[in-house]
Amino acid sequence: MTRAKTKASQIKAWKKDIAGLTYEEATQALDLILAELQSDSVPIADLQDRVLHGEVVLDHCEALLRSVEQSVLQLDPDSLIETSSLTDPNNPTELNNA
């Protein structure tokens, strides 16, 4: 396997690892990488890998921030079971003043 292919598969694995992380968890992972870089614990030979890993986590954080779709669910007040998804909050059909 060539070095480029190895790198690509490594990046793919990193992306898979962080896919389920929340923004808070992802920023914690990023700060961990930054702390390692700052503490000299990373050998020079591994620097590039660690930076690449950081870039992947940063891209994940930015993608989360750019997401425009917010999950808004309406629950029934008696059962607290979901009754509808308020996907377009800009266009409520009827408004009152309250």
């Binding site: 425009v68 808004v72 009152n96």
Partner: protein
């Protein structure tokens, strides 16, 4: 205008009362609002009878039992109220009573209730700034309790989307005006039981603007105790900026408006983006600094290695030797002999440094710059100028 006798209508009492009733029915609004102070309220056979007065004029009032059970507010003597009423006219006695369809406390009554509840809850420690919990920095799920649909909800959803779309919002419709405290309490209790299951990190209780009297439900003591015991941090956004309710006082954070409540609960996406950019730059800087520093260390080692080469060390030894030779020369007595001084020694080769160690007739050696002399001592003159022969 003069009235002739044949134009004056003639009634029986019953007819007169019926005519008055008919006139009132035609000429008086079917429903009206009446601002008044309640006097001598008393329940008789399930109906609430009271006198409504403005201090000068008064009129009887009644809340029928069927309506009384629906009222959220039961007036007491001296309460200022706004009555939604209609006229009841009893033809048999020609008596007029205001039938109250709804009674709402006036602003003064609302504020008095506010102060009473506040005092009680403060005394019991329910209102206590020291027990306020901190809000989650990045909540996963927020529960929004407000009227649906409403402009307040639309504002909150818009703010949520703009600030932090990653937080899931659970909208739970509640009534926000009138005798609805019990309904809100039920929802709060249900939600409190299911906070873990729904992963709720915080609660926003919100209501759009209205008159202070409209917000009176949020002064309800039971509702506010329930809010104080809610297992997650509570943020209120009720009414306008100037409105303060008991719910605001027991909440962990009081926001001036529903929109402000969302701002308080959610991080700012723009500042988070700036923070990410700073981290990206910091990562580049750290790598740059690390490479620069390691390169500097490498150069230092190269210099150190060069200093350890055999040729370099040989030169160093030579330099040291030259320095020692120069020092030796500087300290040699030949420098003194060259300047005309002589070195005296006795037969034993010991240096003579004082006339007291020499006797007349002794043989002494005189070492000069270019040779030696041997001579016998004939006269000794100590420094005190006393000669000895």
């Amino acid at each position: 205008m003069t009235l002739s006798a044949d134009r004056i209508p003639t009634y029986s009492v019953g007819e007169l009362n019926t005519a008055i009733g008919s006139l009132l029915e035609r000429g008086f609004a079917p429903r009206f609002l009446l601002e008044a102070t309640v006097s001598r309220p008393q329940v008789k056979k399930g109906h609430l009878w009271l006198t409504l007065t403005d201090g000068t004029a008064s009129v009887s009032g009644v809340v029928w039992a069927s309506r009384l059970s629906q009222l959220s507010y039961r007036p007491t003597d001296g309460d200022g109220v706004t009555v939604v009423g209609k006229l009841n006219f009893w033809a048999a006695r020609a008596s007029i009573t205001v039938q109250a369809l709804d009674i709402r406390p006036s602003l003064s009554t609302v504020l008095r209730q506010f102060e009473q509840v506040r005092q009680r809850l403060e005394e019991q420690g329910v209102i206590n700034p020291g027990r306020q919990r901190s809000l989650p920095t990045q909540p996963t799920t927020l529960a929004l309790l407000t009227s649906v649909p409403s402009s307040a909800l639309a504002d909150m959803l818009r703010t949520g989307r703009e600030r932090w779309p990653m937080t899931r919002l659970l909208v739970i419709p509640i009534p926000v005006q009138g005798p609805v405290a019990d309904e809100i309490i039920k929802v709060l209790n249900r939600l409190a039981e299911r906070c873990d299951a729904l992963a709720v990190d915080g609660l926003v209780l919100a209501r759009g603007g209205g008159s202070r009297e409209d917000l009176a439900v949020f002064d309800d003591e039971g509702l506010c105790r329930c809010l104080a015991q809610f297992p997650r941090p509570v943020v209120t956004g009720i009414g306008h900026e100037d409105d303060l309710t008991i719910a605001d006082l027991v909440a962990d954070h009081r926001a001036a408006t529903p929109t402000a409540a969302m701002v308080a609960c959610l991080p700012d996406r723009d500042s988070a983006e700036r923070s990410l950019q700073n981290r990206r730059q910091r990562m580049k800087d750290l790598v740059g600094w690390r490479i620069t520093r390691d390169r500097q260390r490498l150069n230092d080692r190269r210099t150190l290695l060069a200093q350890q080469s055999p040729l370099k060390r040989l030169r160093q030894y030579q330099d040291d030797m030259h320095q020692k030779r120069d020092l030796l020369r500087a300290l040699s007595p030949s420098r003194w002999l060259q300047r005309g001084l002589a070195l005296l020694t006795n037969d034993a080769g010991e240096a003579l440094t004082a006339v007291t160690s020499i006797k007349v007739g002794d043989r002494i050696m005189v070492q000069m710059n270019d040779g030696e002399l041997e001579t016998d001592v004939q006269i000794i003159r100590p420094a005190s100028n006393q000669s000895k022969t």
